[in-house]
């Protein structure tokens, strides 16, 4: 960002809303506001759409991560000059990624193909066919800009490197080879109970008392064996934390929520004809989603300017109220409302005290929330983890890999048929919630070591290795050695070899809607629903009078494309 090309000035200079960052929540709000006939200016310092939700070429990913991992650059002096009317509050970025560890084991192979990768920055993430995000995509017509493919299966992994099928439907239970007859019966009866409950059948109603109790207690009460319980909790209801250890569990799932989650899963299976499973993934990666909403917004008149950093906020001197932003080009743009992506943090002009009204508000703005972090990993291989399958999800329930594992680790393998990598390659996205960097690394490494062969790091051929901590590199080697001596499955043999990996921890920030509205970082969930909720909440906050994407009945005036018709997403088979 040193050499920002000169920009033509933006005209007009006043908008109803300025949105900074093209991450998913920002893009949804921009589209919703445009649909509500607001004039919107949507800015992004990056030359691409998606911000922290983008899908990037291989070569661009490390620099994106490291840009957002450094401490804020010192405020630019020129932007801190106060004009007569405004206080100028410098915006600086805060570090969102830490402990970044890029390992290149096969530089040639990857260099040639760098542009053929679309690597999700916030992976693994998928859609449930019947979830809110799919509804939103269909309702807003964003589906005409995207194509999806079904995720073939879900597995549960164990500490021996086995991947067990998750019997998530009637047909899957029938087909499953690892479940005993009794287990099949118990699991199917439980599914039927949930279906009956959701359908409002009187004789199978689950009591309110049960609904308010922890889901894990309810599963125990139903007499489900540990294996099935684990499938339901972590591979279907997608619980993040160990539900059976209240000491480490930050998010104990209630029966009601567990049942809702199962119902969502159930409704997802078979919703679309071409989708065999419950989960969908967008072709070209999840960055497509933000982009689709941006296109939606653009159709409604939203103005887009990429490569345009914002340097400062303009605040009314007397009231401390937000007035506008100062762009990197030096131009001041004004708006009623502002939505910021979570990168930014306001710094006070050095030496000067802020206007008193502002002082009261700022503590909230720079508040650090204590939600822990999410460890993410991206691995590239030449062979699939499952010989006969390309796109699938793997869940490692808490305690399945090592005793202190307090959270689920999820892994999504995506193949070239989803246009995220060159033919013959596979991208693995791994994530797990963690308290700190060390814990996060340990979680991701545990999965990498059990599933992949990690070649020894050769420092000469790997000039690009940016191993931040020597210890983490060692840990990889150590655990590999350990698993090869104890694991019954033949290590190395049959395990895909790691070609490239990026491991990093990401801050979890909630969206804020106090002094300035800012959007949340990608969360630790598997789908987008909580992020969409956050976007709706922010939209309601800034435009309480307006409807969030009003239903436009059947006629959709903007259907200038062929329009697949509402109610269906385009699925490639």
């Amino acid at each position: 960002m040193e050499d920002i090309p000169p920009y033509p000035p933006i005209d007009p200079t006043t908008f109803d809303l300025i949105v900074i960052g093209t991450g998913l929540p920002e893009s949804i709000i921009a589209a919703a506001a445009s649909t509500a006939s607001k004039s919107v200016l949507h800015l992004d310092p990056n030359p691409f759409y998606g911000s922290h939700f983008s899908s990037l070429p291989l070569a661009d990913l490390p620099s994106f991560l490291s840009t957002h991992s450094t401490s804020p650059s010192p405020p630019r002096s020129r932007s801190s000059e106060d004009s007569n009317e405004f206080s100028v509050l410098d915006l600086c970025t805060r570090p969102l990624y830490s402990s970044i560890d890029i390992s290149v084991f096969s530089p040639d192979l990857l260099d040639q193909n760098s542009r053929k990768f679309n690597l999700d920055v916030a992976g693994p993430r998928v859609f449930f066919c019947a979830d809110k995000s799919i509804e939103l995509i269909l309702n807003t017509g964003a589906n005409q800009y995207m194509e999806f493919k079904s995720i073939d299966a879900t597995f549960v992994g164990d500490n021996k490197g086995n991947l067990l099928n998750v019997p998530d439907s009637r047909a899957a239970i029938f087909k499953d080879k690892s479940l005993g007859l009794m287990e099949k019966n118990q699991l199917m009866r439980f599914f039927k109970l949930v279906q009956g409950h959701m359908a409002g059948e009187q004789d199978v109603k689950i009591s309110d008392e049960d609904l308010q109790s922890p889901f894990v207690d309810f599963l125990n009460k139903m007499g489900l064996p540990p294996k099935i319980k684990s499938f339901i909790l972590y591979a279907i209801a997608m619980a993040d934390y160990d539900q059976e250890d209240t000491g480490v569990c930050r998010d104990l799932l209630k029966t009601k929520d567990g049942i809702d989650q199962l119902a969502l899963y159930n409704a997802s299976i078979g919703r679309f004809q071409n989708a065999s499973g419950a989960l969908l993934y967008p072709i070209y990666g999840q960055g497509e989603l933000s982009q689709a909403f941006c296109r939606r917004a653009a159709v409604k008149g939203c103005i887009y300017v990429l490569r345009m950093p914002v340097t400062a906020l303009l605040v009314d001197k007397d009231s401390g109220c937000y007035k506008g932003v100062r762009l990197a080009s030096g131009q001041d743009i004004f708006s009623q409302k502002l939505i910021l992506d979570p990168t930014f943090k306001v710094t006070l002009p050095s030496g000067s005290s802020p206007p008193s009204p502002l002082q009261a508000k700022l503590p909230f703005f720079s508040q650090k929330d204590d939600r822990g972090k999410i460890a993410r990993g991206i691995c590239i291989t030449m062979t699939s983890l499952k010989p006969d399958m390309s796109n699938f999800l793997v869940v490692y329930p808490p305690r399945s890999l090592f005793p202190e594992q307090a959270t689920s680790i999820r892994l999504l393998q995506i193949a070239s048929n989803l246009a995220v990598c060159p033919p013959g390659m596979f991208v693995l996205y791994i994530s797990a919630l963690c308290n700190d960097d060390d814990q996060g690394k340990k979680l991701i490494h545990a999965v990498v070591n059990i599933l992949l062969t990690v070649p020894p790091i050769n420092s000469e051929s790997n000039a690009a290795v940016q191993s931040e901590t020597a210890e983490s590199g060692c840990a990889v080697q150590d655990e590999n050695a350990e698993s090869s001596s104890t694991g019954p499955s033949d290590p190395g043999e049959g395990k895909p070899t790691l070609l490239w990996s990026a491991l990093y921890n990401q801050e979890l920030t909630l969206g804020q809607d106090d002094f300035i509205c800012s959007t949340p970082m990608p969360d630790g969930k598997l789908n987008y629903d909580d992020l969409i909720d956050a976007a709706v909440k922010l939209f309601k906050k800034i435009y309480p009078e307006d409807e969030f994407f009003p239903q436009t009945s059947s006629e959709n005036p903007e259907d200038e494309d062929d329009g697949d018709g509402d109610g269906d997403v385009s699925l490639e088979t």
């Binding site: 009637r170 047909a171 029938f174 087909k175 007859l181 009794m182 099949k184 019966n185 118990q186 009866r189």
Partner: protein, 696 residues
């Protein structure tokens, strides 16, 4: 396709359908005139295509097209290329008709017809089928057609089996797929194809497969149907077996007419006979054909030529029966002779499923005929009895006495080689039993209980020659009791099964059987006092069975039960006295099995429900209304004796005319008014007593 609610038509839909009807009518009129005038021009043929596209059910149009094709093919200028294109056009018409209604019989049939001509490519057919079977995986038209195509293109059964597997994996609630699987497996087993040589290797895998479906969703019925088929495959031996005979092997039979009791003979093997002959009964485990004087031979001192006329005992007039009878004449009034019966030593006895009887067996017995004075004999056989409680006393058996049950065991043991060969059957059943016990420990499941009950009975029956009694009968009875409560809709069926199990249990051992053996004594009785009366009264039986163990019975009391049918009773050829009072027999036709009982003399059907219902529902309980034999054997002589009085009782006439009853009790039935009674006297001239009244 399935389970979709029907929507009420909207006004605009109704208008559209009216317009469609209008168009259809116009087309139809035009079409019929072409058809009538045998016009097969291009225009006319196209019109029929248009008609079929709207209404694929138009049979006439399909037939017209067949005629048109035949007409075209008979033209001299017709060359192979144009034949193909004509037939391809037909396939296109069928396809578009099927798109309109993929369950159109006419369209599928027409396609078969075209394909049978042999000029069209078959490869396309499987692709077409895939499309239809994807749209509705249970469409039986498509499955039928699939079998046709598979045969036509010589597709291997193995490939088709794999296809059913794929379909089942997609959704195992698929009757058609399971059914096709059973068809294919039967064919493969019959062919003894590679990997399908032995049932015992194939069936366990199938059991494993079906368990997955049943345990996953016990409420789904399709899997249970397949399981039932597997069970049948396991239980039924291919080759028929002789399970019981009368006289039993090694027995001493006394045939007599007067009242002298000969101390050395058991009343179980004493037979009263007035015909100068006695029956030999063969009871097989399944219906067989081909029992005749060459497949079953007799060796005895008194009948040198050994010719016997074997008669199948079946109510329907088929030539196959589970029970066969022949009557062996004894020439002299006094006789002591041994008889040897050799069954199946030459080929020819064959099961209805086409399997040879292949266990040649021999049994012999001794016959003693006692001098019979004609007069007293007739009196004794005709002797009337009163079915009164005080007239029966429990029979005390001598310790050495041979009870037919015991000899029945011996007969079975002779077939022991079959039993060892079928160890896998017993093992398979044991496994199944364990499996379903486990299922039932998890949940209450009606069909699971029923299956377990069937399994346990089959298991007991299979191990019967070795076990002394039915070890599971108590448990099975309990299961049926449970089912009657759980599933009132099918109460009658469970009750029937319960009755059969109860009878099996009572006849399974000497001890239990003796509890039901009585001797008749009243103030005037003479000869019949020597006979055993088997009393199975007051047991709330709704059905009777276990006939293979009751062939020896001459006097049977079934009163005070809930019998609606006496199906199978025709096997009891020695029956002379039969008490059916106070049951639920609902019609005269329910008595049909009695027509085969030539020695029946005394019958009590008092206090039943004959005539309660004006419509005889039992007629529709038999396999097909057409198979019912009533009225099919009308001959001229009989027509002559049907006078005005009998016209109203034709059914009674057909049922009873062949009986040689001396005594009949029919009081307490709606039908039994004075006119009916006087008709009865006409139908059965042998009748001496009717409802206790001595007739002139």
């Amino acid at each position: 396709m399935h389970g979709r609610p029907r929507k009420a038509p909207k006004p605009e839909d109704e208008a559209a359908s009216a317009a469609k009807a209008q168009k259809l009518r116009a087309l139809q009129t035009q079409f019929f005139s072409f058809h009538h005038d045998q016009i097969y021009t291009k225009e006319a043929v196209e019109l029929s295509a248009k008609l079929l596209e709207i209404n694929p059910e138009s049979y006439t149009a399909w037939n017209y097209r067949k005629l048109a094709v035949e007409h075209y093919l008979s033209q001299p200028e017709c060359d192979p290329d144009s034949v193909k294109s004509v037939l391809d056009d037909e396939l296109k018409v069928v396809e578009s008709a099927l798109r309109q209604n993929f369950k159109s019989y006419g369209a599928w049939h027409h396609r078969k017809w075209v394909l049978s001509k042999g000029h069209s490519s078959i490869n396309h057919e499987l692709r077409l089928l895939d499309k239809f079977q994807k749209a509705d995986s249970r469409n039986f038209h498509a499955w039928n057609y699939r079998r046709f195509v598979a045969e036509l293109m010589n597709r291997s059964e193995q490939d088709e089996l794999k296809y059913t597997e794929d379909m089942i994996y997609t959704n195992f609630s698929n009757y058609s797929a399971w059914h096709n699987r059973s068809v294919l497996l039967s064919a493969l087993l019959e062919k003894k194809a590679e990997g399908f040589l032995l049932k015992e290797n194939v069936l366990p895998e199938e059991y494993e497969f079906i368990h997955q479906a049943i345990f996953t969703d016990p409420d789904d019925q399709s899997g249970w149907f397949y399981n039932l088929w597997l069970l049948d495959q396991t239980v039924t031996t291919d080759s028929p077996l002789l399970v019981s005979t009368w006289p039993t092997c090694g027995s001493d039979v006394l045939i007599m007419g007067d009242g002298c009791q000969n101390g050395s003979f058991s009343p179980f093997t004493t037979l009263l006979s007035d015909s100068g002959s006695f029956p030999i009964i063969l009871y097989f485990n399944q219906p067989v054909e081909g029992v005749n004087s060459s497949t079953v031979t007799i060796e005895c001192g008194f009948d040198k030529n050994g010719y016997l006329h074997w008669e199948p005992l079946s109510v329907s007039n088929s030539q196959a029966a589970q029970v066969w009878v022949a009557h062996l004449k004894f020439p002299t009034p006094e006789l002591d002779s041994s008889v040897e019966v050799r069954v199946g030593h030459s080929k020819g006895i064959i099961s209805t499923r086409g399997f040879q009887y292949c266990h040649p067996s021999t049994f012999s017995f001794n016959v003693h005929v006692q001098h019979v004075e004609r007069d007293s004999f007739q009196v004794s056989v005709a002797e009337s009895i009163l079915w009164r409680e005080e007239n029966f006393k429990i029979y005390r058996a001598q310790s050495e006495e041979s009870i037919p049950i015991a000899s029945f065991d011996q007969l079975c043991i002779k077939n022991g080689h079959e039993s060892t060969a079928s160890n896998w059957r017993t093992e398979a059943l044991a496994k199944e039993i364990e499996c379903f016990r486990e299922l039932l420990s998890l949940m209450d499941c009606k069909i699971g209980k029923l299956t377990l009950a069937r399994l346990l009975m089959a298991y007991d029956a299979m191990s019967f020659p070795f076990a002394t009694k039915l070890v599971h009968s108590e448990e099975v009875l309990e299961l049926y009791n449970d089912l009657m409560k759980l599933d009132p809709t099918h109460h009658r069926y469970y009750k029937d099964e319960h009755s059969l199990v109860l009878l099996q249990k009572m006849t399974s051992s000497k001890e239990s059987l003796l509890q039901h053996c009585f001797q008749y004594k009243d103030s005037v009785s003479s000869v019949i006092g020597n006979l055993i009366c088997l009393r199975l009264n007051n047991l709330s039986l709704s059905r009777i069975g276990a006939f293979e163990k009751l062939l020896w019975v001459q006097m049977l009391d079934l009163s005070h039960n809930e019998l609606q049918s006496i199906e199978g009773l025709e096997a009891m050829q020695l029956l002379s006295w039969l008490g059916l009072g106070n049951n639920k027999l609902g019609s005269v036709t329910a008595l049909e099995p009695l027509r085969k009982l030539k020695s029946l003399r005394v019958l009590d059907i008092s206090y039943n429900q004959i005539g309660d219902h004006s419509i005889d529902t039992t007629r529709y309980l038999c396999s097909s209304p057409l198979s019912h034999s009533v009225g099919s054997e009308l001959n001229k002589d009989e027509t002559a004796i049907i006078d005005a009085a009998l016209v109203n009782y034709l059914e009674a006439f057909y049922m009873l005319k062949d009986l040689n009853l001396n005594q009949l009790d029919i009081v307490g039935n709606t039908i039994a008014d004075e006119t009916f009674k006087s008709a009865l006297v006409k139908i059965m001239p042998t009748l001496k007593r009717l409802d206790g009244k001595v007739l002139d």
